[in-house]
Amino acid sequence: MSRRLRLVIFGLGSSGMAALLAWGLAGLPSFGDFDGRYGQLLAHLTVPERHATSAVSVSTFDFRGLDTLGEEFILFTAAVGVLVLLRAQRAGETVAAEPMRQRQPTAESLTLRSIASALAAPVLVLGAYVVTHGHLTPGGGFQGGVILMTAFLLVYLAGTHLHMRGVRPLSAMEAAEGAGAAGFALIGVGGVVLAGAFLENFIGFGTVGNLISGGFIPLLNLSVGLEVMGALLVIVGELLDQRFLVRKGDW
């Protein structure tokens, strides 16, 4: 196919696409003119019905909890898939094949290491805050879990490879991932046993605005936070371990 013909075909396709896009955008409501009845309904139901102030958390963990269970298991299966692939690749290879370099700091730059070590503790606290306050303010298990993961990454950047091995025992992270995923499902089953339906709330709602309020939403946030942190750390840990692997035949 000549360059000219390809350009003609691209021109036809892209102008058609542009026309459809302009047509579609012209039919949208004007800027700031919101007419989502479902959203309005949920926003007005969260405080009286669930005693939680974050409408987004109440929607994702309570009214639409089953969707979130599915989302959580997408991440879980993705992490397990990465583990299986990387470990299958590793079969028959020697682990930690760089003994000369192993004691070296992760990063050469002193500035980077200072900033990373200064940030690690505040980031850890921020992550715990975002996870535990998910039902009160924006945030929750997913966001907080990723922030917790970055706290451990900062420890890795600040220290040496061996130090990170001490802080990040891979098996503990696998356990956190599994416990988080299982916790969400088990809380759902608890709803079947104690309240008659899957993911039906079975805990007292408490006082609006308190840290312990909103029924089981904080518990679900905690389990999602554990699961996300564990899954991402397991993936990152496996990818980092790959750095120290050399095939046996290469020695």
């Binding site: 800027f31 945030g139 997913f142 966001q143 990723v146 922030i147 980092l240």
Partner: protein, 85 residues
């Protein structure tokens, strides 16, 4: 539309173009991280703080980190193969 929203939209448009124009993959990962952060500010300006938090976590941290780890792994394999020859 407020001035902050307009500026955020323009910055996001420029950032997305910059990600496409960056050709070196390692540099592209960094530009993508900055672009992810500007998207988070856009979401915040449009009153979606939950989405903004997720965007910071995923777009500005997790995605560039994964790209850089994957690049590192590919480069490492290239080094090993070069040493063999």
């Amino acid at each position: 539309m407020t001035a902050v929203q307009a500026v955020a939209l323009v910055v996001v448009a420029l950032g997305g173009t910059a990600v496409v124009l960056a050709r070196d993959p390692a540099r592209q990962a960094l530009v993508a991280g900055i672009f992810g952060f500007s998207l988070a500010i856009l979401f915040l300006a449009f009153q979606a703080p939950d989405v903004a938090l997720s965007q910071i976590a995923v777009g500005a941290v997790a995605l560039p980190a994964m790209i850089i780890y994957a690049l590192r792994k590919v480069q490492r394999r290239d080094e090993v193969e070069r040493e063999r020859r």
